[in-house]
Symmetry: C2
Subunit: 245 residues, 2 copies
DNA sequence: CTCCTCTTTTCCGTATGGTGGAAACCAAGT
DNA sequence: ACTTGGTTTCCACCATACGGAAAAGAGGAG
């Protein structure tokens, strides 16, 4: 843990905080509050302005927070929103399907779980949250691959004898057509899963919600039924985070 | 207009943008993308973390945007929200009262107008938006003084023979009791106004909405009626920006 | 359990980027 | 037209931020 000592970055952040508090400020006032020279304050404001984090008010020499801050915050809260808004839906889905439900987002070429609700009959205490999973061997991953939220990996590693290691056999087009994906003992023997796409406000797929359980309960015959349930659940999560189509 | 040349601030902002785009990143990846040394990236992240704009993800060495960005954005959008959300209400109030309606926020010891809707019978083409007005001589200003959104100025300047220049005679307690304020030819001869307080999500008064017009139309006898209308309008604006009490 | 690989984190000498100061420029008020 | 106070520009200097080396840590393979 560092002590945060980059003087001009510290000062720039202090300027942002002052502007958040005051609404708008003049160069002179900011300089006085920061105890720096007016030319220093002016230069720091220039850098923040160039980066979109501040902008000039109508009248000369007065600054306020810029829309760049709102854009950054939008990105910061998007995943907070997703985890928060999806929780209630995951709880219901876990009860309805009877298995563990997860929400995964694309990150560094992997599917990373950000939310989990354990199924009522869950045997395993396994917590998937924070864990990255191989996209080609998980139902969530296949969804993210199919809908363009993840790029196809160069190598598809084998985890079980049933793992698909040929990209052409992943069936991504069929997943797009059907609207949900599944795996049958491809990540772990005895583990099946079904996932559906979660869309953001612009319609792009930003996450996947999945149900997973032992193959003797989540049988291949049961996949279509569970697929429809997850698709409806995914749609509801999408609406909760701002997708209205 | 400066060229934004503060290298470490520029780099810090670039880090924020990368994190907004990627969701989370490692030190090594940020360094590569910024084309700086890993120790440089690490130090900049430390400064941003100290300022609350980034935080570490669960796993070691991975960073994401922090809640400080959301707090800054909250401040940035609050006034955008106010101007946007109040517009529809101001339009209706202007029609209902028949006079020009303004919304003012406290800034640097003044009441500053951020939104205006001209009344149907407005004679003057005067645009108040962006203009700061003396708090003690305007109805909006008196509201902001009464409810603690503005401090009492040291000197109360006289604008007309009717301007109140003794702070004790402003009647701030009565304004709090009654819930609205008025001026009668205190800023300009022949100009009267009525204002009511707009509250933010935490209940604090963050703005005032006012109706102003010529004293032969906005007569003293008409002030109570208009006061009630403005109070209802202010409550509606408050609810639109998140006040639910 | 050991070793390897890669990343994170720390430390430090150096040079360059950021500083304060002086001054030019600008806007508002009298 | 002049004054006042703030904004903005320019520049020499030095203190801070840099990159590099290395220590520490984590994860994976054998």
């Amino acid at each position: 843990m560092s002590n945060g000592s980059v003087q001009s970055v510290d000062r720039a952040i202090a300027i942002l905080e002052i502007l958040a508090r005051e609404g708008a400020s003049r160069v002179t006032d900011l300089a006085a509050e920061l105890d720096v020279h007016k030319s220093t304050a002016f230069r720091l404001l220039g850098a923040l302005e160039q980066g979109g984090l501040v902008e000039q008010s109508g009248d000369r020499g007065r600054y306020r927070l810029g829309f760049g801050v709102v854009r950054l915050a939008g990105a910061a809260t998007a995943q907070l929103d997703l985890a928060k808004e999806s929780r209630a839906v995951c709880l219901r889905l876990a009860g309805e399907v009877g298995e563990t439900v997860n929400v995964a987002v694309p990150q560094d070429g992997h599917a990373v779980n950000v939310s989990q609700v354990r199924g009522p009959s869950a045997i395993s205490g396994h917590n998937w949250v924070g864990q990255r999973t191989p996209a080609h061997a998980t139902s969530s991953g296949k969804v993210l691959l199919a809908f363009g939220a993840l790029p196809l990996p160069e190598a598809l590693d084998r985890f079980t004898p049933l793992t698909i290691t040929d990209a052409r056999l992943l069936g991504l087009e069929e997943i797009r057509r059907r609207g949900w994906a599944f795996t049958v003992e491809e990540l772990e023997l005895g583990l099946n899963a079904v996932a559906a796409p979660v869309r953001g406000s612009d319609g792009a797929v930003v996450a996947a919600v999945s149900a997973s359980g032992p193959s003797y309960r989540l049988t291949p015959q049961r996949l279509p039924e569970v697929g429809e349930i997850m698709t409806a659940g995914a749609r509801e999560i999408s609406q909760r985070i701002g997708y209205y189509r």
